[in-house]
Amino acid sequence: MVAGILLTSVACNKDFLDRKPLVGATEENFYRNEADAIAAVNAAYAPLQFEISPAGHFRWIWGDIMSDDAIKGGSGDNDAAELLQLETFKVQANNENVESEWSADYEGIYRANVVLEKVPPIVMDEQVKARLLGEARFIRAWFFYNLVTMYGGVPLADHVLAPSEYNLPRASEAEVWTLIEADLREAANVLPLRSEYPTADLGRITKGTAQSLLVKSLVWQKRWSEAQALAEEVINSNQYQLEPNYAKIFTLEGENGPESIFEIQYMNRSGGNWGKNNANEGSFTNVFQRPRGQFEGYGFNIPTADFVQEFFKEGFEDPRLKSTVFRVGDAMGDRGIFTKEATGGFPYDYYPKKYFSNKSEDATLGDPNPNGGTNDRVIRLSDVLLLHAEAAFHNNNEDAARQSINRVRARARGTVQNVLPDVTATGSALLEAIYHERRVELGLEGHRFFDLVRTGRATQVLSPLGFNEGVHKLFPIPLSQIQATNGAIQQNPGY
């Protein structure tokens, strides 16, 4: 009897059945202090680096290979054969690259949503908290921006989904843009200026980053006057200056330079970044874009002759060409002279240069291949300037447009004589000049395909490559996701 009574007291101790893992944090015992909040936000940054898991979804696949600027390359048609589908606009709904993009975007959105749910109740410095929430909002907006510009309207996972919501159907494009805009405006309100961050936080999302992505979003939606005004805020914020030496932007020293607005950070000292959920921080872009043979790369994203020709269009060689592509005979950093023999006998005349890294910069730890250290320059000031020019043009403010484009050209001209004179064109010639400037200034940085689609020029430029306006301005929704939701998510037309 005594036993029974004792048992009752032991047994009905409320905690007896309430057991939590003794090793490792759980959702219940994490998110308690500032350090936890920061770790939660850092984890949301990590998917920015998910470039190859399970398959490659580099920005240059969509922006460059799918445009007239580059072809797939590699060792042959069968090397990453699904990229060939993309290059030739024969993409299937089960394309693994397309599915990987979808997957990484939503993983980033999930992690941002976790921050937005778990961080607000934490008792901590309110200013830091506001900043962290702003960073998370930007990250969510960035991934939705990728999704909406690639797939159109997508499921609007604006919170951590409950099991009953797993089969979330697609929202409209407008609804996605509304969320992106709201997130970015809120982020811009709370995020510090670039100069307000401590040096140790270099690489974090700034107010300018949020504003610039919003500029891009407004431009995509052809909301020209808002875009122009906001671009001017960024340009006049005194946070960003054009790097005087265009070539330096793409060097190791040029990382996070004065005109860097949004850069995805990679390093080469952590052992190799094999895919997602990996603690290491290297990039595959370096090795994918280096030539084969003695250059020890995979030789993808091969610039086209048409792209190179763009740099000669004004009757001189645009000085930016030699920062953008390698031509036969060029020195490839400390890796040797570019000859076709040295590349393993491949027939390509050009290789991309902006993500080239020297042998001396190779990882000292682990496999150098997945361990490139070159940051991905996602948004630079010149991008914002050119978007400003484009918006100003559409707002019939040609003077402002010319001013911005000429700032970009002046920097590119540098000290070189007789090249890149100031643009004086008006009307449609001015617009053409802006388009030309974007192609050369931002060449092989993953913008071209989206610029063509956005400006309605894709059919004209890409139809010889197989582009069909009614189909290919949007990517297919991954087939697996239509199946996984029992058809709640519907396919884009034409796939």
Binding site: A3, L7, C12, F16, R19, P21, A25, T26, E27, V114
Partner: protein, 1032 residues
């Protein structure tokens, strides 16, 4: 206490009842003490054959009983003429005599063939076999001891219907797979083991000689009293205890045996290997290796299987003392068991010391206390087993026969042909030092309060604590023939030695309180009520460390601190986890007029393993039986006892991991910041948590009968059941929009439908006694759900094909083999051209795979189900003969209708050795239609997962044959012994199977999803042994 009202109100009521009854009945008991006249009674107890029964119990109600002596005589004092004497003897029908005016009472006890009066342990109580309405099987001590075995599970194999036991490995001490009524889940399908009321994990600590009975609760109604732990059946083990008023006995049992491999695979010799190598080179347009230019010179070469197999001893010594006075009983036993493995000699072995002390003591008439305590010290030495990469067996099967074991200078050689993965197995065994040592205490203290006639309260507290250490040493070695060039492949040398030490502690305490009320109302109503509570807590702790670069290469010096560089090379780790269980349960058994049986049980389990939204589970059951033979209309003399039974119940499987409902926030989701790019930690829950997580539920319906014919000589029990598992845990894929890994959820389901039967016949003709029995189990397994969408699960990857072998999908068996269907070989280019496209390089002599969907291409879509690891039926047959002290026992066991996927040959390597069947290879049109051409590469993927590797796994095994001789009682009397028996036995003497691998009896090392895949199982040994049983 705030939740007492909700979680344990039933218990509180019981306590209040207890208190009231205690005072009342203790009072009554005291009043019942009365003195009476003392009558001395004596007599002799014999069997039907006139032989004295030695050690028969003569119990006196309310008095001191007696035990018959060596001539069957007894003498005792009876309180009054009304005294009832109850004569009992194992295997005999008890007899009750009223003293009356007799002073000499001789009794002849008759054999109790039917055993329908035997008492069966059913969990928190026991019941007469005849009154059970569920499905419970019993294995007795005599069956267990018939085949000397190391582990208790082995004693269960083939002994009873509905329990399938599969040896996972012949390695000494290796655990077995036990399935009660099929594979209930894709997760953990192990039954719950209860030893003397204590739930235990694993049975290697238990000495089979200490066991009195094993009862297996098979249907849901019987297991429902174990609630959330009973879903995969419950195995109740009762250890031996002495009997009251039994003279002390000393028993000594010992045996010694020699084990050897019963079969070795037939592989190519060096000559044959070279011939095929030459052929393959020529086929590939390459020059044959010069050293193989004359294969005849190579002779037989090395038989690597011979090199790793050897004869190995096994020994057991057991001493036990049992007895009892009028107030107490005791058993004290000690056992030493030692077994070496047939592979690797002393590198694989099992040694166990056990001690057991069981005792009970009546402190007061109303209070009985007791203890069951088992102490075990065991050590195991391991070799890698059950994988395709590091096991001595796979290496011996694949190592080329040209390489000698040792070079001429006596050092070990390495292969220059097979592949770098296939290293010298003899050296690899020698370089293995992997030991597991554990000390375990499993013990219980209990007290029984007799509150009133028929009302008993038991409180028991038990502890199961294991302290284990694993010690691994990796010495340096180098098989390079040239130390400067260091030409040996990576697996054949180790430049830096290292040591790993891990401590593991498991501890469980359990407190159970059970109140039982047993009452006969008048002539025709018998009611038994049982109610109780359980509180249980488990904790596991581990810590370990490793270090490398030890100055000494002697394993005896392998301690973490003995290193050249103690600081930088050390690693340490540790952790813990825990779980708890809190339960209330109750059961009512009602017998009406000794022929209508009803039983109902309910258990409520609260478990820390269940998610916060489903912390408590309720498990109900009902059963009923009807003893037709007790009806007035029953007149059959042949079928003298017939009971039909039906039961329904729900059980749970709580083996779902300790914290499955929560999601761990995983660190290491990093990013870099700052000009110096500092790695900054990020943390996120990568997996969706599932607060709804709960047990897996099994709902089972059982219909059966028990019948006894021919004066108890023939018994027949048979059951049909449908067992549905719902809420089976499975991490089904979820849409990527969720952004995290899918949670494990209770979404899948499986159905097992089965039929099982036990048939036993025993007969005695004069001095000649014999019995023959058999059991037969059939079970059909079908996956009935895998969650929304029902994406199939692929598992069982094999290296030789670099692909999964099993596919589990709705409508199919769990873990069915899935692959291509072969259709002979291409004999010519024309045949290749006429067939669906396979590969550009497909050549004559390659396998033709069927184009099942007729689309002109052989690809993934042409795969189908090609086999199934679950037998159509399993069976056991035993026969025992006894004649004038000579006993002969034969025990056969088998499975029929299952397939085995033979993945032991590493086809992913070109130069490995192969079974001799490869000699029938295709060498030109018409030469073979089954064994493909040999080649240096496999463009046609002849090694892909296909029915080529699926073999019939049916077998019939002569598990044991044993011949013994016992000295006759007349001789025993003279030397003062009660029993003296010597015996010889042979285990696994014959195995009938078509399977070409080493052993058809293979289980699974990757769970239900990859059963029946032979990746190089350690085969079972054939054992020849001799032993002795002495009691005095």
């Amino acid at each position: 206490m705030e939740r007492a009202g909700t979680c344990l109100s039933a218990h509180n009521n019981l306590i209040i009842m207890n208190i009231k009854h205690t005072y009342l009945f203790v009072l009554l008991l005291l009043l019942a003490q009365a003195a009476g006249a003392q009558i001395v009674v004596s007599g002799r107890v014999t069997g039907a054959d006139g032989e004295a029964l030695i050690g028969a119990t003569v119990a006196v109600k309310e008095g001191k009983g007696a035990v018959t002596d060596i001539e069957g005589h007894y003498q005792l004092t009876a309180p009054s003429p009304e005294t009832e004497l109850v004569f009992t003897y194992i295997g005999m029908r008890p007899r009750t005599e009223i003293v009356g005016d007799r002073r000499t009472i001789d009794v002849v006890l008759e054999e109790n063939n039917a055993l329908i009066d035997e008492v069966v342990v059913v969990g928190y109580g026991s019941q007469k076999r005849s009154n059970i309405s569920g499905a419970v099987s019993t294995v007795t001590a005599s069956e267990i001891s018939e085949t000397p075995v190391l582990r208790v599970e082995q004693a269960l194999q083939g002994r009873t219907a509905g329990v399938q036991v599969t040896q996972n490995s012949g390695s000494p001490g290796s655990p077995l797979t036990v399935r009660v009524r099929g594979t209930g889940t894709i997760n953990n399908s192990d039954p719950l083991y209860i030893v003397d009321g204590i739930p235990v994990d694993g049975l290697d600590f238990l000495n089979p000689n200490d066991i009195e009975t094993i009862n297996v609760l098979k249907d849901a109604a019987s297991a429902a009293i174990y609630g959330s732990r009973g879903a995969n059946g419950v195995v109740l083990i009762t250890t031996r205890t002495g009997k009251k008023n039994q003279d002390g006995k000393i028993a000594y049992d010992a045996y010694f045996g020699i084990q050897s491999a019963w079969k070795k695979a037939n592989l190519m010799n060096a000559r044959e290997y070279a011939i095929l190598s030459n052929e393959a080179h020529v086929a590939a347009g390459q020059a044959p290796l010069p050293e193989f230019s004359n294969p005849e010179l190579l002779g037989n070469g090395t038989d690597w299987l011979d090199a790793i197999f050897g004869d190995a001893p096994m020994t057991s010594h057991q001493l036990s003392l049992t007895g009892g006075g009028d107030k107490s009983t005791y058993t004290v036993s000690g056992n030493y068991f030692d077994q070496e493995g047939i592979v690797g000699g002393d590198k694989s072995g099992f040694r166990r010391y056990t001690a057991r002390i069981n005792g009970t003591n009546a402190v007061k008439k109303w209070l009985n206390v007791g203890t069951n305590l088992g102490l075990t010290n065991l050590s195991r030495r391991f070799l890698p087993e059950n994988n395709e990469f590091t096991t001595p067996l796979v290496r011996a099967l694949n190592m080329d026969p040209v390489t000698p074991i040792r070079k001429s200078d006596g050092t070990y050689a390495y292969s220059r042909y097979s592949d770098t993965d296939i290293i010298n197995p003899v050296n690899a065994i020698e370089q293995t030092y992997d030991r597991w040592k554990s000390n375990r205490i499993v013990g219980a203290l209990f007290g029984d309060l007799m509150l009133a006639p028929g009302l008993q309260f038991r409180s028991s507290y038990s502890v199961d604590a294991t302290f284990a250490t694993r010690n691994i040493f990796y010495p340096t070695f180098d098989l390079s023939s040239d130390p400067v060039l260091s030409d040996a492949p990576a697996g054949e040398k180790r430049a830096i030695n290292s040591v790993v030490l891990q401590h593991n502690n498991w501890s469980t305490w359990q407190w159970e309180n059970v109140l039982t009320w047993d009452h006969q109302f008048g002539e025709s109503h018998h009611l038994t009520l049982t109610g109780g509570t359980t509180a249980l807590e488990n904790r596991y702790e581990y810590s370990g460390g490793a270090n490398s670069n030890l100055p000494s290469n002697d394993p005896d010096d392998a301690y973490i601190s003995n290193t050249i560089d103690p600081i930088t090379a050390q690693s340490a780790y540790g952790g813990a986890d825990e779980s708890s269980l809190l339960s209330v349960f109750g059961r009512a058994n009602y017998v009406l007029r000794e022929k209508y049986l009803f039983s109902a049980a309910l258990r409520a389990d609260g478990s820390s393993r269940f998610g916060p939204n489903n912390r408590y589970g309720y498990f109900p059951s009902v059963s009923a039986g009807w003893i037709l033979s007790e009806e007035d209309f029953w007149h059959s003399k042949v079928l003298e006892y017939l009971k039909i039974r039906a039961s329904w119940g729900q059980n749970g499987n709580d083996r779902i991991g300790n914290y499955g409902f929560t999601s761990v926030v995983l660190s290491g989701q990093n990013y870099t910041f700052g000009p110096d790019q500092i790695i900054t930690n990020g943390s996120v829950p990568l997996t969706v948590s599932n607060p709804d997580l709960r047990w897996e539920t099994i709902t089972q319906t059982d219909l059966g009968f028990d019948a006894t014919f021919l004066n108890g000589r023939l018994t027949w029990t048979s059951d049909f059941y449908i067992k549905n598992t719902s809420g089976m845990l499975y991490a089904a894929p979820i849409p990527l929009t969720v952004g995290a890994n899918p949670p494990i959820r209770n979404i899948a389901s499986v159905k097992n439908t089965g039929w099982e039967t036990d048939l036993n016949y025993r007969q005695r003709v004069g001095a000649f006694k014999y019995s023959i029995g058999g059991n037969f189990s059939m079970v059909k397994n079908e996956v009935t759900g895998l969650g929304e969408g029902g994406e199939p699960v692929y598992a069982g990857r094999v290296q030789s094909a670099n692909a999964s072998v099993t596919k589990t999908e709705v409508g199919q068996t769990i873990g069915a083999f899935y692959g291509y269907v072969t259709d002979g070989l291409f004999q010519s280019r024309e045949e290749i051209a006429a067939h669906a496209f396979q590969n550009e390089a497909t050549a004559p002599g390659d396998i033709r795979f069927m184009d099942l969907n007729n689309d002109g291409v052989v690809n993934n879509d042409d795969q189908t189900y090609i086999g199934n690891p679950i037998p159509d039926f399993t069976y056991g047959i035993n026969a025992d003969v006894e004649w004038k002290g000579i006993d002969l026992g034969i025990f056969l066991q088998g499975a029929y209708g299952n397939e085995i996927y033979n993945a032991t040959v590493r086809y992913d390597f070109t130069y490995v050795n192969r079974p001799v069947s490869v000699l029938n290879r295709w060498t030109g049109p018409g030469t073979s239609n089954s064994e493909p051409r040999v080649s240096l590469s496999d463009p046609n993927q002849n090694a892909r997962v296909s029915d080529r590797f699926v073999e019939d796994g049916s077998y019939l095994r002569l598990k044991n044959v044993q011949l013994g001789y016992s000295l006759p009682k007349t001789v025993l009397k003279r030397i003062g012994f009660e029993k003296f028996r010597v015996y010889a036995s042979a285990q696994n003497m014959f195995t009938f199977t078509k399977y070409t691998g080493m052993d058809p009896e293979i289980g699974s090392y990757g769970g239900a999803l990859e059963a029946g895949i032979d990746r190089g199982f350690y085969p079972q040994a054939r054992v020849l042994l001799g032993g002795i049983n002495v009691i005095f």
